[in-house]
Amino acid sequence: MKRREFIKYSAGSIALALLGKYVGGPVLGKIAVDETGKSPVKSKTKEKARAIDGLGTVADPSNRFGLAIDVGACIGCRRCQWACKESNNIPDTISPPWIEVFQLEVGQGVTGEPSLEDLRDGATTSYTKSPLAGKWYMPVACNHCDNPPCVKVCPTGATFKDKDGIVLIDYDKCIGCKFCVVSCPYTARRFNAFIPEIPPEKVNPMVPLRVEGVVEKCTFCVQRTRRGTLPMCVEACPVGARHFGNLNDPDSEISSLLNSNPYFQLLGELNTGPNMRYVTRGKKWIK
């Protein structure tokens, strides 16, 4: 009988604990209510956002951010890459930047060499190498998928999809198992194998410093876009090939661009629901 009682009580307490976890009620301790009197479940989102940009921005659920890239306009200068690296506190010693630019040849698909070496020389060097005649350029980064495989597989919940559609990573929660890296079809995620070192004068205070041993990727510059400014890659683009905006708003620039032009998404057949759109109106419109 004793054994039976033991099983009964332990099963009961496990059930209670789980209940407490999901309901968030005062099952096992004091009621946790923050200053505003909201339930602790909601304040969790706040904490996450704070961990991401260090300033405590909160996702606005009425937004759904997306990025459209005009493939015909892109000249492959890699300024977006450089701006991203500079503004997101990515030191030279660390993994490559979050944006990658592929070189394509008309009629032959992708032929270009990737720009890893270019980047090591600095963006200005690669700028002089492009644009080449007869080549097209296609920048890729995190697609902030609607059905993100990386979020599904994360064993700790460190990576999550926020309410405005941005897929973010909590650098303090990530254990560096790299499952999300291998689950991403876009190879968008980077692992910080090296200990990040950045000179203090180059630090952007809006962005947390890079953490060693965790995974990171494009955040759609969450510290800027949630305050109404554009991501750094969009600001840095000299030809206006990048268009960032709210896909929910039918009057936004990105919506009108996508409504009036053909576009494609990368690997949409994998049911990831990518939020990067590649507009294909050719090169003719550029005079």
Partner: protein
């Protein structure tokens, strides 16, 4: 009739601990044979143990290097190159070894396979130590081992969606189950040896609440545990397969075959490891009498079926991908069949085919049967299946969907050290256990023998 024999056995072997005489001479000649590793220490022991300890110290140094400098000391890179490498290969490999142990032990006890009883405990140990080493490989592979506890903190929230969490759960459940199983079935042996061998004091510490006549209840527990073992085993190995099989992110992984493929691979690896273990123990402690050739014959037959089935799975995958596979999958298979991984791939297939042929000859031509060939074939299988795991993990990572450069994966000295070290630690654990605890299930073997005498 049954009751009587059990009672008489009890009277003979299960005296209260404190009443047992404290001299080693009280061991019966049979028991002395079973307890050779505890009673005697050969020269080889004094050579191998220091060598292993030196290896383990080297591993600790390599691990220290990795912990202080991060994974930059390995060959793992993003986005170009592989981010999962030898550590994950080793993880999958060791999880696979763990299949056999408890499966064999449970099978022996459920179906009363008397000839195989001598293998039961070494098989269980293979499970326990391999699972420990699998866990260690995971800790080695992650970037922030200091945050490992996050896995447990977020367990309930992540359970619905993360295959890795399923796997963590499966490994934990299986490890706890295996240790409990081993402990419960070993109580009887420890009880009978208290006061008879030098480790008696340790056994006494490990036997709280021991009562005479416990054996009937333990037999019942072991029976039910043996039944429950099989679903746990399937769960375990299927979830490892699903780590890869449920991912669309890399070509070559997303596949329905991966669950069964991994279960079969695990059975094949585990059984082969048990064959090798049995042969080593048989040779080292002159146990030819207890581990008879019929054991190797039986395992050889079983492994013949398993290895041909595994080859069939490989063929099935090959056909599907080459005939109808999308371009991403084709690229991975090209790297296997004709690209940079071709030598490994064909070595693996060749080893598996040769192993199958050896098992086949052993089984079909009764006169040609040799224990040696069985062991060689098992070694080939273990070798081939380590490569299989490597070729599941790495080539897919070197062929991403987007046109990133192919890159290459060059494991660093740290990785090789840690991978080798995991094997060294496993062997060390085996040797220490053999020295301290009875590796043969003494009570069960003695009972078997008695029944044999009666019949």
């Amino acid at each position: 009739m049954d009751q009587i024999t059990i009672k008489s056995r009890e009277e003979r072997f299960l005296q209260p601990i404190h009443k047992q005489p404290k001299s080693e001479s009280k061991l019966s000649p049979r028991e002395v044979q079973f307890l050779r590793p505890i009673l005697r220490t050969g020269k080889a022991f004094y050579v191998v143990i220091p060598a292993l300890i030196v290896l383990v110290l080297w591993v600790l140094y390599a691990w220290y290097t990795q912990l202080t400098q991060g994974l930059s000391v390995t060959g793992l890179r993003t986005p170009v190159g592989a981010i999962w490498g030898l550590y994950i290969t080793n993880f999958v490999f060791f999880v696979a070894i763990s299949a056999a142990g408890i499966a064999i032990a449970s099978g022996i006890r459920l179906f009363k396979l008397k000839d195989y009883i001598a293998l039961a405990r070494m098989a269980e140990l293979a499970t326990i130590f391999s699972l420990m080493m699998a866990g260690m490989s995971i800790v080695m592979s992650i970037g922030r081992p200091d945050r490992l506890f996050n896995l447990i903190l977020n367990f309930p929230a992540r359970l619905p969606s993360s295959p890795l969490i399923w796997d963590v759960m499966a490994v934990f459940v299986y490890l706890v189950f295996a240790i409990t199983y081993l402990y419960i079935e070993m109580r009887e042996d420890m009880a009978r040896l208290v006061g008879k061998v030098k480790w008696g004091w340790l056994y006494k510490l490990l036997l709280p609440g021991y009562r005479i006549g416990e054996r009937h209840r333990i037999e019942k527990i072991v029976f039910w545990a043996s039944i429950f073992n099989f679903p746990i085993m399937f769960m375990m190995h299927t979830t490892v397969g699903w780590i890869f099989g449920l991912q669309v992110g890399r070509p070559g992984w997303y596949s329905t075959i991966f669950g069964p493929y991994f279960v079969l691979g695990a059975i094949l690896t585990g059984m082969s490891v048990v064959v090798i273990l049995a042969a080593i123990y048989r040779k080292a402690f002159q146990w030819e009498e207890f581990i008879r050739p019929v054991v190797f014959k039986g395992l050889s037959k079983f492994l013949m079926w398993m290895s041909i089935l595994y080859l069939y799975f490989i063929l099935s995958e090959f056909m599907t991908v080459t005939f109808a596979g999308p371009s991403g999958e084709q690229a991975v298979w090209e790297s296997l069949t004709g690209g940079e991984f071709a030598p490994l791939f064909w070595l693996q297939n060749g080893a598996l085919v040769i192993a199958f042929l050896l098992f086949f000859v052993n089984t079909v031509f009764k006169k040609a049967f040799r224990i040696g060939t069985t062991v060689i074939a098992s070694c080939l299988v273990v070798f081939a299946l380590w490569i299989v795991r490597f070729l599941i993990v790495v080539p897919s990572l070197l062929r991403p969907f987007l046109p990133f450069p192919t890159g290459s994966y060059n494991p660093s000295w740290v990785e090789w050290s840690l991978v080798g070290g995991v094997f060294a630690i496993e062997i060390l654990l085996f040797m220490v256990f053999t020295k301290v605890f009875p590796i043969m299930p003494v009570t069960e073997l003695m009972a078997e023998e008695e029944e044999g005498n009666h019949a």
